[in-house]
Symmetry: C2
Subunit: 501 residues, 2 copies
């Protein structure tokens, strides 16, 4: 591995993960690289978990606060949660073990807009960060870090930390170098505009600057990112995708979009993949992505010459596409830019480029409030991620979901969202397999019919009944509600296992 | 008045308000100037209302859509609502007559972030705007319009409209000229950064460009803005203000703020006025405001040499201060900048300057979700205004309110906010007369004790009881709720006239 450490005097810092874990102490605040299963540390988390278990076996306390880019993987969030080694976690997670700990009340988790998490560290809201643990493809001759398959909040954590531990992952292709674009907004009171006008603008350098004196350990790994295989979209996903593409066509017909001007932001999943498959055969050309993660569908669009550039902070690829990216990174880096998540998700740039945001949801209510995070109001799934960053500043914001879930036991259109992550002021277009509800320019009461139209027919009567009751029982009609029965769908779900009346 | 129309050939367009109202037809979309009772048209609304009443008397339909900057006045929103002359209204209102019509279900109202309302018109979400009606202090030699005491969305409405009607108000001082800074973001796909780094940066010109051919009518008026007299802050307001100032002091102590670096955004009202009175005697120097409206307290801070510059889109002054502003505009314009609301409230600039946002609220829930708009979830008061623009992008966001209202019948801290305008992801600090709850860095369950601490003692037991029940009845503890009883406070209010158990 020595050829991946270009600064000779740092080679003395190479050690085992267990040795490096000695730099992480009980109560520490630890910032890690990693975003949607890409570029997270592969070795230290297990070593820290072992250290925690040993401490717990001795009857000692051991728990740390973990700040990341976004989700990581079972061998990062999973092992740490399993070992009860985490006290507090932000800004996003999607690990089953960790999710269970959070919902059991055994771990603290704060769900923070991804563009703001690193910023809050910079702003001193979390005090001192003790250790940053970041995956890299190499360390350059000045001791700077060339990140791997994600950038995330690594810049902010490295800047804030006393100690930096680098994991050099030989599985990651050295050809990723040149794909990153590292630039930071100067700290207050000297902030300036982010000089990006188009998704493809490069404004920074290919490495993260670090004071080499802060690098206390370097650990070698050789493990693949957590890349989930691609699932063939089902019929419902295909129909949602078709409705989204119809929405795009209708925007073109209305003169608000051109076939040569679609800038995409897209959440991860089956429906986005189906949308991108649909775009392959569409009239849209020179598509650009200013988004959070690069997915298989974007790679296909690039290969087909339909997408000119994709700006993101991380990959979220199938194992097959991840191998392809490693093999052909040299070619793809002409079209792909990986930025710090503070920049990939920056409100300023999002508003400026004029993108169409498309994110999944758990439920929407009849007025267009969106729940992205909590099933039945109390059980967190993953987190808001970047959906707020994009929704709040998009040219058009959209949310997609099937109209029902759990085999029909859940309606994703409800009277009152049981947790609100995006308000009625921000969600513009809601899309299910039944069609799309365009809420732009509509007063609250006028949105209801549109929302009921895209609900599943099994739930349409109950939604209509709620709206009628809401208009009769309370005296005010700006946003009619019957607060006594507003959560009846959810209460039935809890009591009967189904929202169905 | 002729000296206020410098372009000679436009003098032929001078006519009465009734004549000018003939350019406004049933079904029209009409954009008006005006923001918080400043700079709204004083004559046309009454003339349009008369026209509507005459049409209704003949059995004809007459209703228009009205887009404004923000609130206007009884002789604008009030007379139009009274005459049932409005079909749809956006993005903000605060008129009692209009509010009643909206809550009676007789008028449609959409509550839109103030920085986005003009943008949505630009983006074509409202189709064609038929008429713009804007108040001006004068028309220059090129036919351009020099706005009066607010800028609001006048630029966007003038650009989008076929016809422009100008009200030249002789009550407004000609010395306001030079206070405005008119600059617009180029339309998509050519948007660029807003070149403001500091609240005092001037980037534009002092007038609104308009194609003189679009000016179909000029009407002369001589009426004061709707300026409400200043109320002496009561004890509760003074205590909230003291708690807010303590929060500022604590930020300085924590090293996150300096006595020479406070950039203020502040909603309108008694508490903000008490805060500004407190700042007069504080250690804070060179205070700057990047805010929506200039209030009496800011004028006092400028006079005392404590505030160097205030950037906003409008005045909201007492009658006495409005007279002073008219008399001394020449002096104040060294310190005051009036911008289009798309710029005064621009997310990009708000994030860049690093301001502390302070806005009122109707209620907050135990997890920090904020209701800014709807009493008991259904009755709209005013609207979200710019509170979202600022909260979502502030260095620190704060919300202020007394802990109870209506003589104790209402607790402003509730189990579940009955309408959510700002989510738990965005509200950082909640302040009542009891203290401040700093929610930064806290997982949801850890916020509850802090929120109950600032609730009124009369309601603390019921809030605590709810939280305990929430943790026992539902199986998931990420954000504990008992959805069956989540709105019991509000249901009691509706049924018994008090939230008290």
């Amino acid at each position: 591995m020595s050829e991946r450490i270009a600064k000779a005097d740092l080679k003395s810092k190479v050690m085992t993960a267990a040795e490096a874990a000695e730099f992480v102490n009980n109560g520490d605040k630890v910032g890690v690289s990693g975003f949607t299963g890409s570029g997270y540390p592969k070795a230290l988390p297990t070593a820290i978990a072992e250290k925690a278990k040993a401490a717990h076996a001795r009857g000692e306390e051991f728990a740390i606060d973990v700040f990341s880019g976004a989700s990581t993987a079972p061998d990062c969030d999973g092992v740490l949660a399993e070992a009860d080694a985490i006290r507090y976690r932000m800004p996003y997670q999607s690990d089953p073990t960790m999710r269970n700990k959070i919902n059991a009340g055994e771990m603290k988790y704060q769900d923070i807009h991804l563009s703001q998490s690193g910023l809050y560290v910079e702003q001193g809201f979390f005090g001192k960060v003790n250790v940053a643990i970041v995956e890299a493809i190499r360390i350059d001759e000045n001791g700077n870090i060339v990140p791997s398959s994600s950038v995330g909040n690594s810049v902010e954590y490295i800047n804030a930390a006393d100690k930096v531990i680098v994991e050099i992952n030989n599985w990651q292709s050295l050809d990723l170098e040149g794909m990153h674009d590292i630039w930071s907004v100067p700290a207050l009171p000297n902030r300036v505009a982010v000089p990006i006008n188009k998704p493809g603008d490069r404004i920074g350098v290919g490495y993260i600057e670090v004071d080499p004196a802060k690098i206390v350990a370097i650990v070698e790994t050789d493990e693949a990112d957590r890349n989930a295989p691609f699932k063939e979209p089902d019929e419902v996903s295909k129909q949602i995708a078709a409705n989204f593409l119809q929405f795009l066509e209708d925007e073109v017909a209305a003169g608000r979009l051109s076939y040569d001007g679609y800038i995409m932001q897209s959440g991860v999943g089956n429906v986005p993949n189906a949308v991108m498959a649909g775009l392959l055969d569409s009239k849209f050309e020179n598509i650009q992505a200013y988004t959070e993660v690069i997915q298989d569908g974007m790679v296909d669009l690039i290969d087909a010459g339909k997408m000119t550039v994709a700006s993101a902070t991380a990959f979220s690829l199938s194992p097959e596409y991840a191998e392809k990216m490693n093999d052909e990174a040299k070619r793809y880096r002409e079209h792909i830019i990986l930025r710090p998540q503070q920049i990939s998700n920056h409100p300023e740039v999002i508003r400026r480029v004029g993108l169409i945001a498309t994110n999944g949801m758990i439920e929407a209510d009849i007025y267009g409030n969106i729940n992205s995070t909590h099933v039945n109001g109390t059980r967190v799934m993953n987190g808001i991620g970047g959906s707020g960053d994009f929704t709040r500043n998009a040219f058009v914001s959209s949310f997609i979901s099937g109209s029902e879930a759990k085999g029909g036991a859940i309606s994703t259109i409800v009277p009152f969202a049981s947790h609100i992550d995006h308000t009625e002021h921000d969600a513009m277009v809601i899309i299910t397999e039944r069609g799309y509800a365009d809420l732009r320019g509509l007063a609250p009461r006028d949105r209801v019919a549109k929302m009921i139209e895209i609900a599943h027919p099994n739930y349409q009567p109950a939604l209509q009944e709620y709206f009628e009751r809401a208009q009769s029982v309370q005296p005010h009609l700006s946003t009619p509600h019957d607060l006594k029965t507003a959560f009846d769908f959810h209460v039935r779900m809890l009591e009967n296992g189904s929202m169905m009346p």
